[in-house]
């Protein structure tokens, strides 16, 4: 039971206070997530509202460039949407997909990893071979294949409405082996420890041993993996959207914004691609930096607490 007082005494908090990169990353990440969560309050315009968009405002450069307007601080895109608002909403979509996909991966992967690792035998071989198969072809291939089928079934127009759950499913299902392998490896290390045997001698059923005894001891690798996987999922989503398989242009994510500006980059409107790209880099970098910090803290070889 981690109380607040316990947390203040912990090695995690101690090393966090001394790691400037971790502090900055967390601040940036919290800021970005807050902005994304409160997007309707923060953003100056609503990019989903066609009445607020005027095609005459298209391709206005950021305010510090020649021809920039104060009303559009970061300029506008090719359809006349305010870049700042579109990016904020786009980041919101990216984060929803990122966290959603990681939640799905984690639920699938942790359960499969726990039970496969504890029971071993056929169950273990079956799921680990399935994981190998899953990892042996690229998620891009699966996504292209699935989205082509789905767009044919529901039509391109309605595809936009189901794009978010679709992307969560594709990215979630393609990455569960990461969790399953990590969890299985720590279960294999834990399962022969004597506290597990003591629980078996006490007569607890195996499901209870797995969930109550072993699972809490696999949490630190799961936490570290989760941060990296959120960054990966955000990038996967951006890659899919960039290829035109993800979010449609009227509900853009960061990836589809980068894509939509790509055709204008040589006509001088660099900001439509570069600014969402920069935001994506900052977002992914801060998550990855936090992940690195957590990995170092939880690494028992470096643990000096």
């Amino acid at each position: 039971m981690m109380t607040f007082a316990g947390f203040k005494d912990s090695f995690l908090w101690y090393s966090f206070k001394r790691d400037k990169i971790a502090i900055i990353s967390l601040l940036v990440l919290v800021l970005l997530v807050m902005v994304a969560v409160f997007a309707p309050l923060v953003a100056p315009y609503d990019p989903y509202d066609p009445e607020m968009i005027d095609i005459m405002n298209s391709e206005i450069p950021p305010v510090w460039e020649d021809g920039g307007e104060k009303a559009f601080v970061l300029g506008t895109d090719s359809q006349g949407r305010d870049m700042l608002s579109t990016m904020i909403y786009g980041m919101r979509v990216s984060l929803i997909i990122g966290f959603g996909a990681v939640a799905l991966q984690a639920i699938l992967g942790v359960f499969i990893g726990l039970f496969a690792g504890y029971h071993g035998g056929f169950l273990d071989s079956f799921f680990m071979r399935a994981a190998d198969v899953q990892l042996s072809f690229s998620y891009l291939m699966v996504a292209i294949f699935m989205s082509a089928i789905l767009q044919a079934i529901v039509g391109v127009a309605r595809f936009g409405e189901i794009a978010v759950p679709f992307l969560i499913l594709v990215i979630g299902f393609s990455q569960w082996p990461q969790y399953a392998r990590t969890v299985r490896a720590s279960v294999l290390a834990e399962r022969n420890k004597e506290y597990v045997e003591a629980a078996r001698v006490a007569g607890f059923p195996s499901a209870q041993i797995i969930i109550k005894q072993i699972f809490p001891n696999t949490l630190s690798p799961i936490l570290v993996l989760s941060t990296i996987q959120v960054a990966n999922a955000v990038m996967s989503e951006a890659a899919l959207s960039f290829l035109g398989l993800g979010m449609p242009i009227d509900r853009p994510s960061l990836g589809s914004l980068i894509n939509s500006g790509f055709e204008f980059i040589f006509s001088g409107a660099w900001w439509i691609t570069a600014l969402p790209g920069l935001l994506l880099v900052i977002l992914v970098l801060s998550i990855n930096m936090l992940g690195d910090f957590l990995r170092d803290v939880f690494n028992p070889k470096l643990y000096k607490g």
């Binding site: 039971m1 004597e194 506290y195 045997e197 001698v201 006490a202 007569g203 607890f204 005894q213």
Partner: protein, 336 residues
């Protein structure tokens, strides 16, 4: 020896170490063969244990004493033989049928640093098994039981909200013993409970175990390799070598006059304070691998009294006049 608690008859435990299907395929004499490799950890072990008795199993590393204890506890399914508790068979029972016996049979482990879950407080470690076996208990009754057991093992009941890493090895072992006692067992398998402890702490834990035995009339299956501890603690001793029991006897007469050649060698290895010529029996060779057991008597390759019968025929435990059981052709024939 009237009130038999546990009875083990012809117990076998073999482990399959052949790995996957591809590892099992072997090419020999121009043919592909699929063969499994077994580690024969426990072979044909039989003994009885009375209520309130301490039965020690001694032997060198890898002789199968821990496997024996774990098989009796149901952690490994036996490959053959019978385990009975108060007359009813407990081997081959499924999880639910075993539950009533889980309350009666408990285990204390060797490594106090691995035997407590690092993410659970002492209270959780003690309360979980108690609540699981006695769902009718109220929180107050559970707390009383925990306090009582903590006091019995010589720990402060105020410590129960702490985590295992806040304790030393000896304190952890006390808590492990408390965890075994909390369901009120009558039989405890102690798998080298003091081997990982400091010598000064070893004595405390041993005395604690002997006190608890008197208070609760516990029976111990005490697995150890420290012979002086075994002599001090046990009523009867079984000496194991390569998965078989070679001598089984009351402690006093075994230590006074060992009969089996292996027991003699083992006893002569106990360090003595008195000077004089060393009587240490030096055995030749190494312990054979339990994958390919020697034919006949498993000890024949290293025994100074070996003859052809020892190589051909597996000796059975025979009861001698003084009540001890010895598995040796030489003793049976009066050669040793």
């Amino acid at each position: 020896m009237n009130d038999t608690l546990l009875s083990v008859k012809n117990l076998y435990k073999h482990f399959d170490i052949s790995g996957g299907f591809l590892d099992q395929i072997k090419f020999s004499q121009g043919r592909l063969k699929c063969e499994k490799t077994w580690v024969k950890a426990v072979n044909n072990v039989s003994f009885d244990l009375a209520a309130g008795e301490t039965f020690s199993v001694v032997g060198e590393s890898g002789c199968g004493k821990s496997t024996l204890g774990r098989t009796i506890m149901g952690l490994y399914p036996p490959n053959g033989g019978e385990i009975s508790y108060r007359g009813s068979r407990i081997d081959g029972l499924d999880h639910k049928q075993l539950l009533p016996y889980r309350k009666k049979m408990q285990m204390v482990f060797q490594d106090p640093y691995a035997s407590l879950n690092p993410r659970k407080t002492i209270r959780q470690a003690l309360a979980d098994p108690l609540r699981f076996h006695n769902p009718q208990l109220t929180e107050g009754e559970i707390k009383d039981r925990i306090d009582e057991v903590m006091l019995q093992v010589g720990s402060d009941p105020q410590w129960i909200s702490r985590m295992p890493h806040e304790f030393s090895g000896g304190q952890r072992q006390r808590i492990s013993i408390a965890r075994a006692l909390i369901v009120d067992p009558e039989f405890i398998v102690a798998d080298e409970p003091i081997s990982a402890l400091d010598v000064s702490i070893q004595a405390q834990i041993l005395n604690l175990m002997m006190d608890l035995q008197q208070q609760r009339n516990l029976a111990y299956l005490f697995i150890a390799h420290d012979l002086s501890v075994v002599e001090h603690l046990s009523d009867r001793v079984g000496v194991m070598y390569l998965g078989t029991v070679c001598e089984l006897s009351e402690t006093g007469i075994l230590f006074e006059q060992p009969r089996h050649p292996y027991t003699q060698a083992l006893m002569s290895a106990i360090p003595k304070l008195e000077g004089g010529a060393s009587t240490h029996v030096r055995l030749k060779g190494e312990v054979p691998t339990p994958i390919n057991l020697p034919s006949g008597c498993v000890f024949h390759g290293r025994c100074p009294y070996v003859n052809q019968r020892c190589i051909d025929e597996i000796p059975q435990l025979n009861r001698l006049d003084d009540g001890r059981q010895v598995a040796c052709h030489g003793v049976e024939e009066g050669r040793i």
